[in-house]
Each structure stands twice: as structure tokens, then as C-alpha cells.
């Protein structure tokens, strides 16, 4: 008797994902929704980072080509001045701006302070650029490490409810237990679904930004070396 009732119940709902979600306990629903949101956020960040880091890389490549092409720095400054600068170019622009600004004072106070100021300015600009590139990457890391646990929480909850279903119906029939376990496992699946890309892309973007930041730092050092050489030649 009990068996038949349980079977018809299972037959009504079917096993589609929507039914699985609708049947779930409210806590499991919240967990699932949260995980879906996390996944959406993760992928949004992934898309965004993909674009920004790629753009920064391309701009850096382009600027490096221009910079080492033998063009005079003033010419480069003038050509870049109109456009919005990216990454390495922005370092260069910050340094050149500071250079131009301190031309007057350098006559009076000497070039030593100016050299230092240019280094500082480039440092600050580098931090600014990197913070833009690295922004929200931590969200990926957080999702990657915590969403499996959140999914596990949903699973535990769902299995708890399915055990309660056993207790209530006093039947260990598979039809009584299976929906709860299915929804519970669905929560874990969502957790993993959010976590796996998050971890993969976090690692990828972390290494990309680290490489880019190394390049920018090298450029800053090189550029400050060039500037100090030029200043020494002037004296």
C-alpha cells in the first residue's frame, strides 16, 4: 500500500531539474540560488577579466613596440596624450607628466628630487593599474574555495530532510528517500559547478596579472634608469 502511494508520488513530479528545485526544502533552495548567483558572478568576473587583462596585454605589447622603436620620448608623449592610456603607457604618461611639471623647479632645486619623484609617480601608477587588473579576482578565489562547502551544506540538509521523510513515512522505500537525496546531490553539483571554473580562472588570471605586473615593474625600472641617464647627461 505504502509502496504504491510513494511510487505514484514519484511519478507525478518526474525527475526534471526544475521539479528537483521546486521540491527542495527552502534552505536547500536558498543554497541553490546562492550558488547560481555565485556562478553568475564568477562568470561575469571571468568575462570581464578576460577582456581587461587581454586588453592590457595588447596595449602593453603595442606600447613596448612604440617605445623601443627609437621615437623620441616627447613625440611619444604627444601622440599618446590624446588617447586614454593603458597599463605601461599610463606609467609612461605619468612619468612624462611629472617630468614636464618639474622642469621649472628642477632648475632651482636640482634634478635629484625630480628623479625620485618620477620613480614615486610611476610606482603609484603601477599600483593603480595593478589594482584595476586584480580587482574582483579575490571573489573568484572565495567562490572557488567556499562554494563546495556551501553545496555540501545543502546536501547535508537535503539528506537530513530525506531521513526525516523516512521517519515520517516509516518506510525506507527508495521512492521516499530518493527525491531528498537527489535534491541534496543537486546542491553539491551546483557548488562544484560554481567552484571549478572559479578556481581554474582564478589561477589563470592570477598568473596573468603577476606576469603583467612584473613587466610593468621592469619597465618602470628601465624608464627611471633612462631618465636618470638623461638627467646626468644634461648636467
Amino acid at each position: 500500500m505504502e509502496v504504491e502511494i510513494a511510487q505514484t508520488m514519484a511519478g507525478q513530479d518526474g525527475g526534471s531539474i526544475l521539479a528537483l528545485f521546486m521540491k527542495a526544502h527552502i534552505v536547500v533552495k536558498i543554497v541553490m540560488l546562492g550558488l547560481i548567483m555565485a556562478s553568475i558572478g564568477c562568470w561575469a568576473i571571468v568575462f570581464e577579466k578576460f577582456v581587461t587583462i587581454g586588453r592590457a596585454k595588447r596595449a602593453t605589447d603595442r606600447f613596448e613596440k612604440q617605445f623601443w622603436s627609437g621615437q623620441s620620448l616627447d613625440d611619444l608623449y604627444l601622440t599618446l596624450g590624446t588617447a586614454k592610456t593603458q597599463a605601461m603607457a599610463s606609467l609612461f604618461m605619468a612619468a612624462m607628466r611629472e617630468w614636464k611639471r618639474s622642469q621649472q623647479s628642477a632648475m632651482r632645486a636640482g634634478f635629484h628630487g625630480m628623479e625620485k619623484r618620477i620613480e614615486k609617480v610611476m610606482d603609484v601608477q603601477l599600483q593603480r593599474e595593478m589594482s584595476v587588473l586584480e580587482s574582483r579576482l579575490l571573489f573568484l578565489a572565495t567562490v572557488g574555495s567556499s562554494s563546495p562547502f556551501i553545496g555540501l551544506f545543502g546536501t547535508v540538509w537535503g539528506i537530513m530532510s530525506s531521513f526525516r521523510a523516512i521517519a515520517v513515512s516509516k518506510s525506507t522505500n527508495l521512492a521516499v528517500v530518493a527525491p531528498g537525496i537527489a535534491e541534496a546531490l543537486f546542491a553539491t553539483a551546483l557548488g562544484l559547478l560554481a567552484a571549478i571554473p572559479a578556481v581554474i580562472f582564478f589561477n589563470k588570471f592570477a598568473s596573468d596579472t603577476a606576469k603583467l605586473s612584473a613587466r610593468l615593474e621592469n619597465f618602470a625600472d628601465e624608464f627611471s634608469a633612462i631618465i636618470s641617464r638623461q638627467l646626468d647627461e644634461r648636467m
Partner: protein
Amino acid sequence: MRFSLIISFLVHSAILLAAIVVLPSPDEFTVKEQTPISVDIVEIEDVSLRRATKKDALPVPEEKVASPKVEEVVKPEPVPVPEPEPEPVKTEPAPPDPKPLEELIKKTEPLPEPEPKTEPEPEPKKAENKPVPVPRRKPRVPKSFAEKKKKKHKFNPDQLTALLNKIDEEPKQRTDPADETGTPATGEIDSLIGSDARLSASEADWLRQKVSQCWNPPVGVREAATLIVKVRFEMDIDGTVLGTPRVINSSANPLFQVAADSAVRAVLGCQPYDRMPPEKYETWRDTIVNFDPRKMLAVN
């Protein structure tokens, strides 16, 4: 950021939609129509052919009729003839077997006609070689029964199985008129007298086994035959012993009190006997258990 968020949201909803719409709900398991297997719950006594009662015992009537004859015929034999030795030897080792009895019965028929003195030599052969006249007089059942007995006896020579399968010896025991006294001939540790026709052998066996688990019989006593203790006790319907078990026999053996105490301890120590069928409560409410240390000594 907003752009990529929108893209991400759209992709997610597309995937979810695809999962809901495109992915079909899993096929239901098509379970074959199973032919229902009807299960009856059967009392063990309906199945068990063995009864711990004093009824039944297929060859009983014949033996009863025959046994006095046997004794009459056999007894004279040992006195005059030098050959009597094989005969008592033959009868004694297998007292539980009805077969020797039957053989003796067979013997009794031919014996009066020829002279008993010439007979004894072919006797053993005769018993086996003479199935031809036997079927005429006897139903086949006892014979096969007896053969089985014989086989079993060969198969289980050790005393332990003899102790455990006391049922096998019961038919023989039943033939004895003097059961109440618990003479050595019964070869039984403990019989349930309180039970009558209803209690099946399995339940009696179970009780026997349970009690014997708790029983530390006096070991290595002389004259163990005088240490048979009969304990009578009443049980509640849940199998607990009501009141104190009483020892209903007595003996001159100075160790009897020790044996009696150990028997009472065994009965009290193993309660509750909760597997006794409550619907037959009347049959086992008042139970007598015989404790016979000789068998236990044989085991130990």
C-alpha cells in the same frame, strides 16, 4: 563589469533553460511486472515433524507388543549357550535404535521353531539377509526409519551430537513405561514434562539449549546417575521464571544439594525464555526440566 555580468547572467539562464527544457526528465524505471510471491507465515510446529511429545513414534505399538517377548527369549539364551556374548553386545551398544529391537523381533519369530542353540551363529547374517519375510509382517516405514537411524548412528558417533540430537532417541525413550523415574535407559538429560501435545520439538529444544548454556554441572562426581535433578518451575508469559524453581526429586548422594543448586541457578540464570510461543503459554507455563549430569560428563 555590468556588461560582462549581463553576459554571464544570460549564459547561465540559457544553460538552465536548456537543462530544464531540452534535457528530458530521466526515464522512469520500467520495472517488469513482478509475479507476486505469496508468503505465508507458518508456525514452526506446522513444519517441524518432530514433536517433543510422547505421542506419535511410528513403531511403538509393535515394539510394545514385541518387547516383552524379546526379553523373554533373549534372557534364557545367555545362560546355557557360550555364544550369548555377541548378543548382549549387540543389543547394548545401540539401545536407542529400534533396529536391534526389530531384529530381535524377527528373531523371535523364527526362534521358537528351530532350536535356539543352533541359531545364534547365522543370526547376525540373518538379521540382514532376511528382509524377505519381514515386509510381509511389517510396514515399510519402520524399516526405512530404522535404517536411517542406523546410518545416523554411524555418522554421528560422538556423544556431543548424541546429546544435541536427543530427539532421535526419543522414540526409544517413549517405549519405556518407566519414564517418570528417569532411569538410565532414557538417555536424556532433560525432558519437558510440563508440555503436552502442543509444544513442538524446536521450542522444547530451544528451551533445553538455553538452560544448558547456563548450567555448570558438577564435574567428575561419582555415581552421577544419582545426581539427576528435576526442577519444576513456572514461567510468566514473557518467559521470566515466576517464584523459585523447586527441586522435585531427591537423592541420597551428598552432592545432590550442590547439583540441585546448580540446576536451579541454571534455570534462573538463563531467563527470560522469551522465545517460547505465548499462544501456547498454557503448555509451558508449568515446566519440569531434568538435569542429568552424566551426559554432560560425557560431553566434557
